[in-house]
């Protein structure tokens, strides 16, 4: 059973109550149409079937079996058949289907048909779905039709040509000349399609562009006629004569005037006229003004005209229509590159748009607002943006924090202001701050000793109010650990710009309060493990600050404040130090391995063995390098309007993802200061993790550690000993039994003599063998990507001045739990002073200590055969 007419089918479908009903109706009908296609071969049946099929297709059901039937329908002589056939072809086929070439012949016949409506149908089909192949076959017909007297055909032919040029740009030459006639047409439809074709030609061919530049006066005249023409009801839209043509002409002028001073000069007058005479009351007028402004900004126009264009867009911003504000903001953002001074004048309106109800307008306004920041207005702009940050949508916040930090970095009038700004960012949107911003802020503070008291007080005050902002808490905890002593040592710090800051004045915290605050942070359920680790480190560092101040400060009050009293040498249970020990003890059984380890390690630091060295271990961290570019690059928006030429090159918005990724990479690289992740680097991991915040743990550097060591009064021999004791990640059991610990420490002694400063590759080196003129040095590298294996470069150096080492052979054995891969050495024969390298990889899934047994076999030039076996287990345990 099938329905007679398409109309009946539509009714039946509309009557369906459920989707399942609809599906069954459609399936039945589709089946009916299929059989009918096979059995009946009359045009009438085909006509109704295709009609029904197209409706089925529109509902989203498959209808491709009708393609061939459409082709047959097109071959019919009747207009209505052709019309439905072509409609079917346009719906069911597209340029990518091979079957399309089958219609070339029908199209060709119809293009030559005497009935202009049939020609129109064929042109329409050609224009909508022509493939490159069909276009090439029919280009001659289209060319011919562009010259007929019938305007209906002419305009369709021109648009077909647009399609052909898009598909096969090589064919454009033949149209360049013919399109010129279209451009001087009186008929608006033909003129419009001619303009579309001209735009297409100029975009594809520089030759056409040059030729059409000669027509600029002609186009200017046409535009002028439209401006001055009286009322013509046919093309009038809301009181403006043919806005579509005006927009198209302006667009063509833009392409022609771009980079051509002479053409631009010719357009100046008319553009000014359009800009001043167009009525901006309705959307139509706005469309023209908008197009004019874009054209003015794109071509080489007068300065005054450009300012006029910016002012038009500025006026758009105050418009009540969202659409107008939207286009104005995106255009102004683009215009920032060249016209930043003019755009600056509309700053206040732009900032108002930050509070628009439409999120896409807010987004654009934000983009533009960041682009507007420059040294002269940075205080005011950042103030505005900070107040917006409080109410901004969550999706804006990550970008905003990065960009405000970047702006503060780049245009800071003073470091103090910058620090203050960044703290405010952390305080308002601390959960959206990128790690590199936190890292860089810490580096900045470490580099500004005069600001440290201010920073620590400010952060402390904020933390007392709010512990929910990750970045604030992390920086705060770090600052308390490093500079906590300022809180009880120097009451009242001069606030920014010398004014007394009431808030800061009253900040005179007792150590117990600070420790309680840190303890509170540890208790919070939402604080991350990284932050907790930082808290533990801050606590242990504070314990040292407390003790050192107790020994230096003689004042009785101060001692009371510390809770140490007169018997400071032996802390009673109520003292802050005891409090710290209590907290560490709590976490010695933490489920997080890292926390547990730290807590245990730090607790052990209170043992009397460390009395000598504790101060050195826990002193302030060495000042890291500060990289302002990294902050700036972390902001991914267009900042400071490129034109201002800031001191730092910024990655523009083109590849935000890539640029930020790149910058964090380089930040890490820089922090590492060219040192590979080395044994010592890894060692310093836990004490110095705070140096650069959570992200850069693996990158804490040789440099830093070397600094620590350099600053201490202790000899180098003891320092590595202690540091490995502090941070050994070996099992807790191993740490608890001190004997084991010192077992491990037995080995590094030779290393430290050769160790820092490191060898050429700046990795730590370990001398494994040095006899008979041959020195073998090991350079272990830990690849963070492959935590279970250690890459060791072996360097053979013939230290003898005369002897040659021959037939060098190195054999290595490792414990059973490990696996060894060896590459061949770069040479087996070493002349006097020569070197060779060999790389080996130790795969160590059980994470046990790397121990090597080396068998070294070589002959000297004196004929002596050396065959020796040595043991080596001197790698630091963190290398595992």
């Amino acid at each position: 059973m099938s329905f007679l007419r398409p109309r009946d089918l539509i009714r039946a479908v509309r009557c369906c109550k459920t989707a399942a009903d609809e599906r069954s109706v459609i399936q039945r009908e589709s089946a009916g149409i299929r059989t009918s296609f096979k059995e009946v071969n009359s045009m009438d049946a085909r006509y109704t079937n295709i009609g029904k099929l197209l409706y089925i297709y529109l509902l989203g059901y498959p209808a491709h079996f009708g393609q061939i039937e459409c082709l047959k329908l097109v071959a019919s002589g009747r207009y209505s058949d052709k019309r439905l056939g072509y409609l079917g072809i346009m719906l069911l086929l597209d340029e990518n289907q091979e079957i399309l070439t089958l219609i070339t012949n029908s199209l060709k016949n119809d293009l030559n048909h005497s009935n202009m409506y049939i020609v129109g149908l064929a042109l329409c089909t050609l224009g909508n779905i022509a493939s490159a192949e069909v276009a090439t076959d029919l280009v001659d017909e289209v060319e011919r039709l562009m010259e007929t007297s019938n305007s209906y055909i002419r305009k369709k032919a021109a648009l077909c040509a647009v399609r052909i040029v898009r598909k096969v740009p090589e064919l454009l030459d033949s149209f360049v000349e013919k399109t010129k006639h279209h451009l001087s047409e009186k008929n608006h439809g033909v003129l419009l399609s001619g303009l579309a074709l001209a735009i297409e030609l100029c975009e594809h061919s520089s030759e056409a562009l040059v030729q059409y530049r000669a027509l600029v006066p002609n186009l200017v005249r046409q535009l002028k006629t439209l401006l001055t023409a009286g009322f013509s009801p046919e093309h009038d839209v809301a009181g403006i004569a043919d806005p579509f043509i005006q927009v198209k002409i302006l667009r063509l002028l833009r392409i022609l005037g771009r980079g051509d001073a002479i053409s631009s000069e010719l357009m100046n007058d008319i553009l000014t006229q359009v800009a001043t005479n167009t009525d901006a009351a309705k959307n139509v007028g706005m469309a023209i003004l908008y197009e004019t402004a874009v054209t003015v900004l794109d071509i080489q126009s007068d300065t005054s005209l450009r300012v006029l264009a910016i002012n038009i867009l500025g006026k758009f911003l105050a418009n009540r229509d969202n659409n107008i504000r939207y286009v104005a903001l995106s255009t102004l953002t683009r215009a920032m590159a060249t016209e930043s001074a003019a755009v600056q004048r509309h700053r206040n309106t732009i900032l108002e748009c930050l509070h628009d109800v439409d999120i896409s307008i807010r987004r654009r306004a934000l983009h533009l607002a960041f682009a507007l920041i420059q040294p002269s207005n940075v205080r005011m702009m950042v103030r505005e943006l900070l107040s917006f940050l409080e109410v901004a949508d969550a999706e804006f916040k990550p970008g905003m924090t990065a960009n405000i930090c970047a702006a503060a970095e780049r245009f800071a009038p003073s470091r103090r202001w910058q620090v203050d700004t960044v703290i405010r960012v952390f305080q308002t949107a601390g959960n959206f701050v990128k790690e590199e911003n936190v890292d860089n802020f810490l580096a900045l503070v470490a580099n500004q000793p005069d600001l440290q008291p201010f920073v620590v007080q400010k952060l402390y005050i904020h933390m007392q109010k709010d512990l929910a902002q990750t970045a604030l808490v992390q920086t705060g905890v770090w600052a308390l650990g490093e500079y906590g002593d300022y809180l009880w040592q120097s009451p009242g710090v001069a606030s920014p710009e010398g004014q007394a800051d009431a808030e800061l004045e009253q900040c005179n915290a007792k150590p117990t309060e600070i420790i309680t605050l840190l303890d509170n942070i540890m208790q919070l359920p939402y604080v991350t493990v990284t932050t907790r680790q930082m808290v533990l480190t801050a606590l242990i560092k504070l314990s040292d600050r407390l003790q050192s101040s107790s020994s230096t400060v003689k004042d009785g009050d101060a001692l009371d404040a510390l809770g140490l009293g007169s018997t400071a040498s032996a802390p009673s249970p109520a003292t802050p130090v005891a409090q710290i020990q209590g907290i560490l003890k709590q976490h010695a059984a933490s489920v997080h391995v890292e926390l547990q380890q730290r807590a245990v390690e730090y607790s052990n630091l209170f043992c009397s063995e460390f009395d000598e060295s504790r101060g050195a271990i826990l002193e302030r961290m060495p000042v890291p390098k500060y990289h302002p570019e990294a902050t700036v690059a972390a902001g991914d928006l267009l900042l400071g309007g490129g034109a201002q030429g800031g001191q730092v090159g910024i990655a523009t918005q083109s590849v935000p993802g890539a640029s930020s990724a790149g910058s964090s990479g380089s930040l890490l690289m820089d922090l590492m200061d060219d040192a590979g992740p080395s044994a010592t680097g890894a060692l310093s991991g836990s004490t110095l993790a705070i140096t650069a915040g959570p992200s850069s743990q693996p990158s804490a550097t040789v440099d830093l550690l070397a600094d620590i060591f350099g600053d201490t009064s202790l000899s180098q021999n003891t320092t590595p000993t202690v540091s490995s004791a502090v941070v050994s990640p070996a099992s807790v059991a191993a740490i608890n039994s001190q004997g084991d610990l010192f077992d491990l420490l037995g080995q590094p002694a030779p290393a430290s003599s050769a160790g820092v400063p490191p060898a050429p590759e700046a990795t730590a080196s370990y001398e494994a063998y040095n006899q008979h003129g041959l020195c073998i040095t090991l350079y272990p590298i830990k690849d963070p990507a492959q935590p279970q294996s250690v890459l060791i470069s072996v360097r053979f150096h013939n230290q003898s001045a005369t002897d040659t080492v021959r037939n060098l052979l190195l054999q290595i054995a490792v414990p059973k739990s490990q696996k060894l891969h060896m590459q061949p050495p770069s040479a087996t024969e070493l002349g006097p002073g020569q070197e060779a390298m060999q790389s080996i990889r130790v795969h160590n899934p059980s994470q046990s200590a790397v121990r090597l047994r080396l068998k070294i076999v070589f002959g000297t030039s004196g004929g002596q055969q050396i065959d020796e076996i040595v043991q080596f287990a001197g790698f630091p345990p963190t290398l595992v």
Binding site: G60, K155, L192, E234, N322, N323, V327
Partner: protein, 143 residues
């Protein structure tokens, strides 16, 4: 240029779809859903009529229960396309006499004919309502 035109009702049923750029069938289906989701959730009063869609822009306008959505190049003049949509709707209105959704359903092939008279190859073809109407009358007589 216009990449595609969709006319959808508030439930997301597509009443007219015209593709000037070839897409796979499943892509078309996905776009219909995505465009509907993008457009129908927007606040008519307080939001602009433009939405970014992939690398392009959707310029849309709502007439009663129907959304007319044009997907256009990112650097095209959105305001002008808004006028274009309005012109198309005016022609539909003049042709059907106070057009409603059902007219589009039952006369879908005529709607396509009107569309093809107003837009061709992704460009606006004719901007005079009078010209389009006379053409359509002629075409109707030929049936």
């Amino acid at each position: 240029m216009i990449r595609f035109i969709l006319v959808q009702n508030r439930q997301g049923k597509t009443r007219l779809a015209k593709w000037y750029v070839p897409y796979e069938d499943d892509e078309k289906l996905r776009f219909k859903g995505e465009v509907h989701r993008l457009v129908s959730t927007r606040d008519q009063k307080h939001q602009s009529n433009f939405v970014e869609f992939q690398n392009y822009k959707i310029v849309y306008r709502r007439y009663a229960g129907l959304f007319f959505c044009f997907c256009v190049d990112a650097n095209d003049n959105e305001l002008a396309y808004l006028e274009g949509i309005h012109f198309f709707v005016e022609v539909l209105d003049a042709f059907f006499g106070n057009v409603c959704e059902l007219d589009l359903v039952f006369n879908f092939y005529k709607v396509y004919a009107i569309l093809d008279e107003v837009f061709l190859a992704g460009e606006i073809q004719e901007i005079s309502k009078a010209v389009v109407m006379t053409r359509l009358d002629h075409l109707d007589k030929l049936e």
